[in-house]
C-alpha cells in the first residue's frame, strides 16, 4: 500500500443523503469483515482499492482480510482491531448508505456510542456459533437508550455451524429474547457468512431460510420519524445584538413555529410573541420547522439567555429540580451516590447531585448489581437533583429535549435519558441583571459533621473575593435570638422558622447567608425552602454518626450518651437524611480544604 493508502473511503456519488447505519456486536463476531464484504459485494470499491487490500493482506500472510479496509491506522492494522468511528459509503440498487463503524472492543464503547447515536438503524452482528455474548447484550441495551429502534440482525459465520437450520433457529430465538428484554425487535434476522459473501448481496441456498438478503433487509428500513408533529421546542443558543435589535438564536428541536406565535421560555416562564423568523438569508420566514437553525425577534424585551428552552405559551416545557434518568457511564472513574456532576441538556448546563442510585446493571452480563456506584460502561437508573431548575421533557415523549450528557474533567463522561421528573414552578428572571442578588445556603447535618467550620471557611473565602457573606450559626443564635427555645420538635421547628426569616432578610439585602443549623426534620427544611423561595440551596454536610461521635468537638455526644443531654440528634432524636439537597459534602471522605473547595465551586456555579 503506497500511494492512496488513506483513500479507502468509497465515494458517495449521489445527490441524495446517505442512510446512516451502525454496525454493532461482540468483538470477533465479524463486524469489520462484514463491512468490507458489503463494500466489495455492492461494487462500492474501486479496482485499485481491492488490489491494495489483496496486497496488504498478502504482506501480512493472509488471504483477503476484509476488515483491513477500515483500519486506516497502521497500528490498528497490526493489532487487528478497529479503534475509532470511521464512516464509509456503499450503495445498494435502491439507495446509498453510510456505515459508521462501531467497534465492539470494550474499551472503545465511547466510540461505539459516538457512532451509533448518528445512525438511523443498526446491523447487529452475532456469531451463530457463539450466540448472544456480553457485548451483544450491552450494545442492544445501548441501542435502546440511544433511540435506535430499527435493527437488522446479521447472524454471521453460519458456515461454522454447517448452515444447520435447527441451530440457526435456536440462535435466532436467543437474539429475539435479548432484544425483547430491551423493548426492541429485529426487522429481520439474516443468516450470513461475511467471509464467503453468503446472503449479503447474493442470496445463498440455505435450508429453511426464505427471507431477504442483508442488503434487501437494509433497503426495507425507513428513515427515523420526523419530529415535525411533536410539540414545539426551541433551544436557545445565544442572544445577538444587531444595531438596536435583540435576536434570539437557536434550533427548533421539534415541532413547528409560525411567525406571530406566542412562545414561553423555561425555566423563566416568561412569554412573548415572535415577530420575525430568520434563517440567515436576511429573509423573513412565515414559519420554520424541526431541525432548522433560526434567529427570532420577540415583541418584548424578555430576559432570555443560553440554556433556556422555549415551547408553546399554552403548553410550555416543564422545569424540574429532580430528575430520574437512565444513564450509561463512560468515564474510568465511577459515579457514586452523593457525588456532584455537571450535566448538559439541550444548551443548558447544570451542576447536579446524584441523590440515589436506584439500579445498576453490572458489566459482565447486564445483571442487577446492588451498589451505590456506577462503573465504567455500566448502565444505571439514578435520581438527580439540580441546584437550579432545568427545563426538560420526558424522553419517551420528546427524545431530543429529554436527554443529555454528563461532563467531568472537560470531557463527556456519559449520557442519560429522562424517564421522570418533578415539576418545579417557573423561576422568575432577575429584575435587574447587574445586581448581585443574595442567597441562602443552608448547611444541614449531624452535630460535629463540620457545618460551622465549613460555613466559616466559606464566608471567609467569599469575603476575600469581595462578596458580602455572613454566617448564621445555630449555636450562636441559640444564645441570643433563640435563647427561649429548647430541643422539642416544636421548638426545633420554631428555631428553623426564625433562622429562615432572618436568612431571607440577609439575602434580600444582597448578602450570601450561610446557615449552619442541624434542622434534622425534612419537613422543617422544606419549610425553610418555602420561606426563602428560589434562592435557597440545601447542602448536606455528611459524616456518619459514628465519625461525628468520635470527633465530638464539644463533648456533646459523650454527655448525650451519659443521659445528661436529652433529645440529642442521632442519639435519642432522629436525623432525616436529605433526599434532594443541591449538594452533598462528605467531610468523612474529604478534608476541610477539599470540602470548602467543593462548597465554593458550587456557589460559584450557582451564582455564575
Amino acid at each position: 500500500m503506497t500511494a492512496h493508502s488513506h483513500d479507502y473511503v468509497a465515494l458517495r456519488p449521489s445527490n441524495e443523503r446517505a442512510f446512516p447505519i451502525v454496525v454493532v456486536g461482540h468483538v470477533d463476531h465479524g463486524k469489520s469483515t462484514l463491512i468490507g464484504r458489503l463494500l466489495y459485494d455492492t461494487g462500492s470499491l474501486g479496482e485499485d482499492r481491492v488490489a491494495q487490500l489483496r496486497e496488504a493482506s498478502g504482506r501480512r500472510g493472509l488471504d483477503v482480510e476484509w476488515s483491513f479496509l477500515l483500519d486506516a491506522l497502521q497500528v490498528e492494522r497490526d493489532q487487528g482491531i478497529t479503534v475509532d468511528t470511521t464512516q464509509v459509503w456503499f450503495r445498494s440498487a435502491r439507495r446509498h448508505y453510510v456505515i459508521i463503524d462501531a467497534p465492539g472492543h470494550r474499551s472503545f464503547l465511547k466510540n461505539m456510542v459516538t457512532g451509533a447515536a448518528r445512525a438511523e438503524a443498526a446491523i447487529l452482528v452475532v456469531d451463530a456459533s457463539q450466540g448472544v455474548a456480553d457485548q451483544t447484550r450491552r450494545h442492544v441495551h445501548l441501542l435502546g437508550l440511544l433511540g435506535i429502534g430499527q435493527i437488522v440482525v446479521a447472524l454471521n459465520k453460519v458456515d461454522l455451524i454447517g448452515r444447520d437450520p435447527q441451530r440457526v433457529s435456536e440462535a435466532s430465538e436467543e437474539i429475539i429474547r435479548c432484544l425483547a428484554e430491551n423493548g426492541l425487535a429485529a426487522t429481520a434476522i439474516v443468516p450470513i457468512s461475511a467471509r464467503h459473501g453468503d446472503n449479503i448481496v447474493r442470496a445463498a441456498d440455505m435450508d429453511g431460510y426464505g427471507g431477504p438478503t442483508l442488503v434487501d433487509a437494509l433497503d426495507r428500513l425507513l428513515p427515523r420519524a420526523s419530529n415535525l408533529n411533536l410539540p414545539f421546542r426551541f433551544a436557545v443558543q445565544d442572544v445577538y445584538r444587531l444595531d438596536d435589535k435583540r435576536v434570539v438564536v437557536g434550533r427548533i428541536e421539534s415541532g413547528q413555529l409560525r411567525n406571530g406565535d406566542t412562545i414561553a421560555f423555561a425555566p423563566s416562564g416568561q412569554a412573548a410573541r415572535v415577530v420575525s423568523i430568520e434563517t440567515g438569508n436576511g429573509v423573513d420566514r412565515a414559519e420554520a420547522q424541526a431541525g432548522e437553525s433560526v434567529a427570532l425577534t420577540l415583541d418584548q424585551p424578555l430576559f432570555v439567555e443560553r440554556g433556556q428552552l422555549a415551547g408553546p405559551a399554552e403548553e410550555p416545557p416543564a422545569t424540574a429540580r429532580r430528575l430520574r434518568v437512565r444513564l450509561f457511564w463512560l468515564d474510568a472513574a465511577p459515579l457514586a451516590a452523593g457525588s456532584r456532576i455537571s450535566l448538559k441538556l439541550g444548551t443548558a448546563e447544570r451542576e447536579a447531585t446524584v441523590l440515589d442510585v436506584e439500579e445498576v446493571l453490572g458489566m459482565a452480563s447486564m445483571q442487577t448489581a446492588d451498589r451505590q456506584e456506577i462503573r465504567q460502561h455500566e448502565v444505571a437508573q439514578v435520581l438527580l437533583g439540580v441546584a437550579r431548575p432545568l427545563a426538560t421533557d420526558r424522553h419517551a415523549l420528546l427524545p431530543r429535549t429529554g436527554r443529555g450528557v454528563f461532563v467531568r474533567d472537560f470531557r463527556v463522561a456519559g449520557g442519560f435519558v429522562v424517564t421522570d421528573f418533578d415539576d418545579a414552578a417557573p423561576v422568575e428572571a432577575p429584575v435587574e441583571l447587574d445586581a448581585t442578588p443574595g442567597v441562602v445556603i443552608w448547611l444541614t447535618g449531624y452535630s460535629g459533621a463540620g457545618k460551622s467550620t465549613l460555613g466559616r471557611e466559606l464566608v471567609r473565602r467569599l469575603s476575600e473575593r469581595g462578596r458580602a457573606a455572613h454566617l448564621l450559626d445555630g449555636d450562636e443564635l441559640r444564645r441570643g435570638l433563640n435563647r427561649d427555645l429548647g430541643f422539642s420538635d416544636a421548638d426545633r421547628r420554631e428555631n428553623v422558622r426564625r433562622v429562615s426569616e432572618v436568612a431571607r432578610l440577609f439575602a434580600e439585602a444582597g448578602t450570601i447567608a450561610v446557615v449552619s443549623v442541624i434542622a434534622p426534620r425534612a419537613a422543617d427544611r422544606a419549610m425553610a425552602r418555602t420561606l426563602v423561595g428560589p434562592r435557597f440551596a440545601e447542602v448536606h454536610i455528611r459524616a456518619s454518626l459514628s465519625a461525628c461521635e468520635q470527633r465530638d468537638p464539644k463533648g456533646l455526644y459523650a454527655r448525650a450518651r451519659r443521659g445528661d443531654l436529652k433529645g440529642f440528634t442521632g442519639i435519642d432524636s432522629p436525623y432525616e437524611t436529605p433526599v434532594s439537597p443541591e449538594l452533598v459534602v462528605d467531610t468523612e471522605a474529604d478534608d476541610l480544604a477539599t470540602s470548602a473547595d467543593r462548597l465554593l465551586a458550587f456557589v460559584d456555579n450557582w451564582l455564575g
Binding site: M1, T2, A3, H4, S5, H6, D7, Y8, V9, L11, R12, P13, S14, N15, R17, G46, A72, L73, Q74, V83, D84, T86, Q87, W89, K110, N111, V113, T114, A116, A117, R118, Q237, D238, Y240, L242, V247, V249, G250, R251, T279, G280, N281, G282, Q289, G291, E292, S293, A295, R306, L330, K344, T347, R403, G404, V405, V407, F410, R411, V412, G415
Partner: protein, 264 residues
Amino acid sequence: MNDLDSLEAESIYILREAYATLKPIAMLWSFGKDSNAMIWLARKAFLGRVPFPVVHLDTGLEFPEVYDFRNRYREEWRLDLVADACPSIEEVDPTLPPNSRLAARKTLGLSQAIRKHGYRGIIAGIRRDEQAMRAKERVFSPRGASGEWEAKDQPAEFWDQYNLSQPPGTHVRVHPLLSWTELDIWRYIARERIPVVPLYFARNGKRFRSLGEIGITTPIDSKAASVDQIIDELATTRAAERAGRTMDHDSEDAFERLRAAGYM
C-alpha cells in the same frame, strides 16, 4: 428541508455553539472551496457578519489567483483577516518527508497564531470523506497544550452535545463541515452562488480538484469548466479528492503524523 438545508442548519448550529462557548475564537481561511463555504455559513449564522478573525496561515507559496481572491473577498465580506507568515522550512521537523514539510510549516504557523492571540477555539473546514484520518475526527476536537491530537483517546460525542469546556492552556478544533461531502460542498456552492478561486475550473484539460500550495499540488485531467460540470464529473469519478495533494502520499503514515502534531 432537503439534505443541503439539513447540513446548513447543522453547521450553523455548530458555529453558534462554538462562538457562544469558546472565546476568543478564530476561523481558518485557506480560500479553498470548503473554506469559502464555511465563511458563507458563518455569515448566515451570525446574520451577515463574521464576528471573529479569519486566519490565513501564509506560507508565501499560494498561487497568485489565490492571493487575488483573498484580497477581493476580505473587503467584500468585511472580514477581520489575520495573515501572519508561517515559520520557515528550517524550523520544521526534518524527519518528515519533503512534501509534508510545507504542511508542517502551517502547523507551526497555527500554533504561533494560537500563542500570539490566545485562541481557545479554532474553526477548520475539514470533512470526514476527504481522508481516513479526518474521518475519525470529532466536531469539537480537544487539543493538547501544544496543539497535538490524541486520535486514539477522543472524548465521546453524541446527540449534538459537544465538548465545550477545556483545560487551561489548550484549545478546541471545531469542524462545522465534518458531515459534508465534496459533492455536498459543490452543490451548496452552486445553490448559494458562492465564489471560488478560478483554479478549480478546467483550462487546457486540467483543473485543480483540491487546492494547496504551488509545488505540492497537481491538477487533474478534467473538462469541467463550471460548477455544474464539476458536479457532473464528481458523480462519475472514482479517483480520490486529494490525489493531487502530494503530501498525502509521501508514506503510509505521513498524514497521520501531520495530524497528530496539530495539522488541520
